[in-house]
Point group: C2
Chain length 463, copies 2
Amino acid sequence: MSTKLIEKLQATIGSQKVLLGKDILERYHHIWHMDQPLNALAYLLPENTQEISDICKLCHEHDQKVMIYGGLTNLVGATETTGDEIIISMAKLNKIEEVDAQSRTMTVQAGVILENVQNAAKENELFFPLNFGAKGSAQMGGIISQNAGGLRVLRYGMTRNLILGLEVVLMDGTILNSMKKIIKDNSAYDLKQLFIGSEGTLGIVTKAVLKLQEEPKSRNSAFLAFNEFDKVVNFLKFIDQGLAGSLSGFELIYDITYQTLTSDPSPYKPPIPYGYKYYVLVESLGSDQEKDHAILNNLLEQAVLENLTLDAVMAHSESDLKWFWSIREDVHILKAKCDIDQHFDISAPISAFGDYVDAVMDKLNHLDGVKHAFPFGHLADGNIHFIIGKKNDSDELKNQINDIVYNPLTALGGSVSAEHGIGLHKKAYLKLCRTEAEISVMKMLKKSFDPKGLLNTGKVLDL
Amino acid sequence: MSTKLIEKLQATIGSQKVLLGKDILERYHHIWHMDQPLNALAYLLPENTQEISDICKLCHEHDQKVMIYGGLTNLVGATETTGDEIIISMAKLNKIEEVDAQSRTMTVQAGVILENVQNAAKENELFFPLNFGAKGSAQMGGIISQNAGGLRVLRYGMTRNLILGLEVVLMDGTILNSMKKIIKDNSAYDLKQLFIGSEGTLGIVTKAVLKLQEEPKSRNSAFLAFNEFDKVVNFLKFIDQGLAGSLSGFELIYDITYQTLTSDPSPYKPPIPYGYKYYVLVESLGSDQEKDHAILNNLLEQAVLENLTLDAVMAHSESDLKWFWSIREDVHILKAKCDIDQHFDISAPISAFGDYVDAVMDKLNHLDGVKHAFPFGHLADGNIHFIIGKKNDSDELKNQINDIVYNPLTALGGSVSAEHGIGLHKKAYLKLCRTEAEISVMKMLKKSFDPKGLLNTGKVLDL
């Protein structure tokens, strides 16, 4: 990096926003690794879109690599540096610019934290349905670049479905402003789709218009038990039809995972006894607590009577709801069992899911080096996570496990990443779920938007 | 077009699939203009993806323009020819390849007609929510290329939200296959988004995996009356919250439109008396006819009591439902009033809608040459249609009307096309709702995918 570039950056956005030397070492590349000093050339703290555009223009002129930092919660190494990058932090673009209760939209800068979006919606009796563990740190820019999923995709869709407008800065400094508060816009190409889910490799998300929902006034949940996968799928169809739009969650937990989440040292009791193969947690979001409780309860009674499920237990109070959902969400209980862990986020057609997981679990349980394997996930979205505990951290074992989980996906038409993205860690496996022609078009796009390869270099694709 | 190319095409896909000379004249460019012979160099009827790829490769080599024909229901001139094109018809790619009831997906070829998709879903107790007037002719390939909307976007989204997988042929013959039956796939760039809504200018949609829903078991509707726009929006929020996921339609009809649709020579009586400014038709799709009728009825009683609406009438039978919805859907009654018509499909933020339409109507009603102006549309999506009857077909009048409807949209952050696309007829107005930077990125994309400019040339963008 030339001294000249640094001087130009300081002159353009102000020296106090250009961190250098030991100020960089106080930063970090991931919230789980705050103890590791950041390895980068400079750390910039721009305050608005124009400053980001100016930075990009200068870096583009100087052939300088840049990397974008949001909440640093990514799970696939997307914010790991090689040391020759300038970091652009979105921390100061943290304003909620507008909540429009009539249009049911919120306009936010990229550095706004998800939980603040949820709260601002709630203050207006509205609802931003996106929800996942890292909501207290994850920023909207990263969430959009990642196309995050989470617990309510079944009803509200991925992040892609929740974005109406977007402002993006390209590597050459071009500002693409498409900040419309409209739900339908077929005026030529929908450019924002390119930037949603491309992990910041095509452009930098600086602002967004989010689509909000009316705030649900009721929340009901139940745990169910099954021994056959087909029965789980049939129950999904039954409850989805019965709840007619208010079903918002359908989470599958395998027996070994359920037992671990509900036995010592977990603080949670099992809502349903052990002895079944599959446990399912459903959620409805509705308009009237009492009425909606009765509707779900009636459907569950019918399901038990008609042998659609082997057992069903409803949450009858706020504390039951908290109990039930903590079992699903406290995955650190699983991680705590694993000294060395490896985790997965794959998707497959729902119809192929049961056999696939059985086959993977059989192979994992027979692999020397695997201590635990915990499957669970968003069945209604065809998305499962595995958390795997290992005896050692060798590359050989890691690759063996990757092969077991990933290799069957090609034939099934699945994906090595349902939600978490490709980043750095999954690049080698991309070819299992995307064709050569697809990858070559992706590279063509990357080269069109970032011909010098300066933006989040080495992530998602190798050129 | 060289004789050599024709010979090669005949040798590659078979002479019987290459229509020439007077066989072309029997074809047409739009279902409303079947009496006008088609002006084109050749008309091809390939039977599969490979044949389309072969055709594209040959035409690419010979610098030959091609245009794709589906159901020919487009409303913006997208299938108008200049005479120097070879037409590729999708008529023979008309197979539904699979319905997977467990994964709730349907795999279709591009030439499958929407109504056949709806019926095939129904036969499996599933539901494809996309619905609009031309469903008996419109083909899925065109629907996807157009990102069609329709009556149930509020709940189920545009076509974009209903597509899980896509197969596309590029102009150089490359087949991009991404036919996965999975709901979540964050494995690098989501390429299908580029082809959805780009009106066939970047690639040719040949197959798709559609996302299906459980079939609703109840349908309920009501007509309501309002005098203030804010009250309409507040009622939308009230009913959306109250129905908690089962609201599937919210259509706004202005007084003049409502009167025309329900008075002589219309066959329909008015469900609610005249004298109000706004009429709203709502629909819920649920699981139990009796229960859901009561839920909607109770909400409407509450709305009347709390002065959220001035009047409300529910449909109590199948024939009521048909009556209510015919009023909204029989737009030919409006067209019949207009000897010469001009129609619009614009979007704006919901909060800006009321004042915008009032101002446009005021200007239209004061413009000499305008006989009628009928506004109506999908308010919950911020999308309104105008059908305007004119005294003459002059370009001057047409442009005056375009200016009245389109010009305010820039300041409002609206769009000149909510659903219908840009095609040929709206190209001149694209710059009102997309920035120069956006249009320049669109052109860059077009050049990347179709460097010779051979695919649907002159549509959407001028290079």
